[in-house]
Assembly symmetry: C2
Homo-oligomer: 457 residues x 2
């Protein structure tokens, strides 16, 4: 059988595939840090070379930021586009890593073998599951299972500023029947998942300015405005005592979960205590009266991702700083409008400023929530294919993270997305000691082979 | 006349004195940063060598932290101790400096010539006014005007952890009739000041901990506790709407300003608009219903000097951090007890912690407020001596900053302190582009010669 041959080829090539992934991780493609621009370019070049080596027509395409990689191959069958991102998150705090984050290696752990390094899971390991599945398919069949387009971006971890212009400029080249995206996770260790709804995101940075220079808190303290105190009041005011976001109009467009979806999610038996316990927590800290799964999959949030002002290094400095800033992300659901929330947030901040203080703002991405149309038969076919590979049947799930690309594909290319991934909750993505399970990598490749067989035949 | 000869000698030696100060500033003795420990030692060595070169019996004395410099000279006359500190504040943010902070130079400005560099005013330039006055005195008279002890510490900008043990261990050697301290400022450009009351200080650092690792805000946001949000609520709660500090019992021991002192201060004609205007502000932001001078000289405060949590670098990172921290200083007056406030602050923080969060604390110094006994005739004599040097008569003033050494001298050595200094409000101490006016340096040396003449004859 042709699928069995592909799966056998994947099994036989596993060590080589892992070596390729380790080399890919070794390129420190941190997109948000300008010091790593050349590394991002190197990662794009590496991917393009891999795809060319598989016989695809691959190229690195310049943008105003980090480049895109685009490749085409396979002349017949349903047109599919596969998307991933080659950039990774910053690695700080570096001292919390047990190894150099870019000197990746396979480690034995009590939970099995893992690939340890920045980007092992998010998204280098995940995107390579698809690339390697295609490599095996090509090796067995001499061709690809469908008319395939690959699109890899290098700015996913830094707000994707070049993505929309690139999609608009190259819409005809990139348009397909369906997009496949590998940047999500399993529901649990044994249960694969197809993510059918995603929260949107609005990233905002606010800086509060007071004096035109840093002041001595002995000389001016108690008389001059302190921007840290002003910022703290603003941040504290963003939620009420019930954990609800107080930005005016924030909940416009937020709908309650439909009963059938709620029933399906409740059937998943999500263990909130274990989920929180895995990171040393025990108490759901979100909106009062909401289920934990609802909090992370289908309720909007406001989180402060960073705050800085004054002197926070070793020792003490009696400074009254000239400014203080916070980075704030809103996760959006339903029909929440990021632009309306952006305006309401900024108005709220300005309305809380005392005399002598002013606020400046910066944007860090904005995208609406997405909900997939799972009546496309490919979704059920893929769900059965995944169920053949893993111990438990696959589930249709929501996701708390934001993958704006799905919304962009829908709006700009008129294309739905199928989100399948093999990440696990303990992968520590965006954190020190990120890893990707060898099982995720191996069975992820096999899963894609099964899905490609199922949705293209 | 002997005083005139000393003043002439100071005038003639001004260029050489400035050169010595520039070399002193070039030693980057940042005490709070362990990377500069060797530089602190080098600054101590430099001072000891200067004092030895003037014929004093000078030595560098080890402590558990940065060393002390102690020197003795002059066999007769009233025993006096002069105190200063050779350590300086950190220089960040470095990019806001117009020159290398340790490559100090004399610059022409519209307000006259200034010595620009970290420590030019605080405290290297100030302490050298006294050293240079003594050098000139010695050159003219062959001896010093009194039995003088010099004490220079290297941890004033980092909480002085070694100071009290050193004073206790060497009390007999260091005890004098009166301490002279040069770490304060002029009342205004033309009005010298003797500081007769000082606020105390309590430095506290609080870290809020939640999850045992940094989390992805998409995966956990809205469900897991966010320590930045918790910290912001605590910081926001430290003041009420009237600008009063809410720590329970904080105002115990705070007394109202006596009528005579209030009248004297009102007579100084403090221009709050000009004071705030010099740093781009216009609005007294402290307690409602208090005079601006009262706010900075005789009211207690609570200021946040630093805050940090999550990712605050370039770009954006959707992290839910494991911890967030703030550095907070309380300025104390009257009989406020730093230890009682420390306990009440910590209890208040613990009382505001939601489930899954805990707080850890660090101490950064604690000292009570000081008030000098100005009935010692030396105070009036020094006031007249200063009035002879400067355009306006000298004033007895309060000070917003904390100089814990005055309290320690009183408690441990039974010795009052006379605080005279020549800093100006625009010296940018603790900030980028710190400077010390050449006029402050020159007339400061001359002022000390006059004061020494007046209080020792």
């Amino acid at each position: 059988m042709s699928l069995d041959a592909v799966l056998s080829r994947i099994d036989a090539d596993l060590a080589q595939a892992a070596d390729r992934l380790l080399r890919f991780i070794a390129i420190p493609s941190v997109s948000t840090d300008p010091a790593h621009a050349a590394d991002c370019r190197a990662a794009a070049d590496w991917l393009a070379a891999e795809l060319s080596g598989m016989g695809l027509d691959a190229s690195v395409r310049p943008t105003d930021g980090h480049p895109m990689v685009v490749a085409h191959g396979g002349g017949t069958g349903r047109p599919l586009l596969f998307y991933g991102h080659y950039d990774v998150q910053p690695v700080d705090p570096l001292d919390l890593w047990d190894r150099d984050p870019f000197d990746a290696a396979i480690e034995e752990t009590p939970q099995g073998r893992v690939i340890r390094g920045r980007g092992a899971a998010d998204d280098k390991g995940q995107l390579m599951t698809f690339v390697e599945a295609c490599r095996a398919w090509k090796a067995v069949h001499g061709t690809l299972p469908a008319r395939l387009t690959f699109l890899f971006e290098g700015e996913e971890e830094s707000g994707s500023p070049s993505l929309v212009p690139f999609l608009e400029r190259n819409a005809d080249e990139l348009r397909a029947d369906l997009a496949l995206i590998c940047d999500t996770g399993m529901f649990d260790r044994d249960t694969p998942a197809i993510t059918t709804q995603l929260r949107g995101i609005l990233g905002q940075e606010v800086t509060i300015h007071a004096a035109d220079k840093d002041l001595h808190s002995g000389q001016f303290g108690g008389l001059a405005a302190n921007p840290i105190r002003v910022l703290a009041r603003i941040v504290a005011a963003l939620h009420d005592d019930q954990g609800r976001v107080t930005v005016p109009g924030f909940y416009d467009g937020v709908t309650e979960l439909p009963d059938d979806i709620r029933a399906q999610w409740q059937g998943l038996g999500f263990d909130a205590a274990a989920f929180l316990g895995s990171v040393g927590l025990s108490h759901p800290a979100g909106e009062t009266g909401r289920d934990p799964l609802e909090m992370i999959w289908s309720r909007p949030t406001c989180e402060v991702n960073g705050i800085a002002g004054g002197y926070a290094g070793a020792g003490f400095k009696t400074v009254l700083p000239a400014q203080a800033r916070a980075k704030i992300s809103f996760r959006l659901v339903g029909d929440q409008d990021p632009q309306a929330i952006r305006a309401a947030f900024r108005d709220m901040v300005r309305g809380m400023l005392p005399p002598d203080c002013r606020a400046t703002f910066a944007d860090h991405g904005a995208s609406r929530a997405s909900r997939m149309r799972i009546d496309d038969p490919a979704f059920e076919a893929a769900r059965r294919a995944l169920s053949d590979e893993w111990p438990n049947d696959a589930a249709f799930v929501g996701a708390g993270g934001s993958i704006p690309i799905a919304g962009h594909f829908n709006e700009l290319l008129g294309m739905d997305s199928m989100l399948v991934g093999f990440g696990r909750d303990d992968d520590r993505i965006h954190s020190p000691n990120e890893k990707y399970d060898m099982e995720s990598f191996h069975k992820g490749m096999r899963s894609w082979a099964r899905i490609l067989q199922a949705i293209t035949r």
